[in-house]
Symmetry: C2
Subunit: 83 residues, 2 copies
């Protein structure tokens, strides 16, 4: 299905761009870009330490379903920076 | 690096097996198997509703680093079933 492939490409590019921005900002924390075309899952994940504070949090989580629907499973854009 | 490819294969198979078991048990909750060979991230994720309770939780998260090290970033084996 062309639509599904196209949406996966768009979501992948979007998260890659956000990940690049996030990588510039956060020193000690690993910003994991997770892209799974096979199952249609795309995540940005914070893992690691900032000083004495440990982060393990989803920052963004989008799914591209087999029917072409895009689900925003999680939007954590206001979470980890508010420490 | 052969070791890295082999470890990714092992971690992928391990999580696929656990996901298959989880899928049998949990009715309303989507058990997402997330495999990203490109970046070396492998997750099992719970997303969805069980009655009136919403789950969004990492169940397992393993990373295969470029140097061949395998990191268990998260082990949530005793989390979502304790509702």
């Amino acid at each position: 299905m062309d639509k599904v492939i196209e949406y996966k490409k768009i979501v992948r590019e979007l998260l890659t761009e956000i990940a690049a921005m996030a990588l510039e900002q956060d020193g000690g924390i690993e910003n994991q870009l997770i892209t799974d075309d096979q199952h249609g899952h795309y995540l940005l994940f914070y893992v690691g330490w900032e000083g004495t504070k440990y982060y393990y949090a989803s920052f963004a989580h989008l799914d591209v379903k087999a029917n072409g629907r895009v689900w925003l499973q999680h939007d954590g854009t206001d979470l980890p920076t508010a420490a």
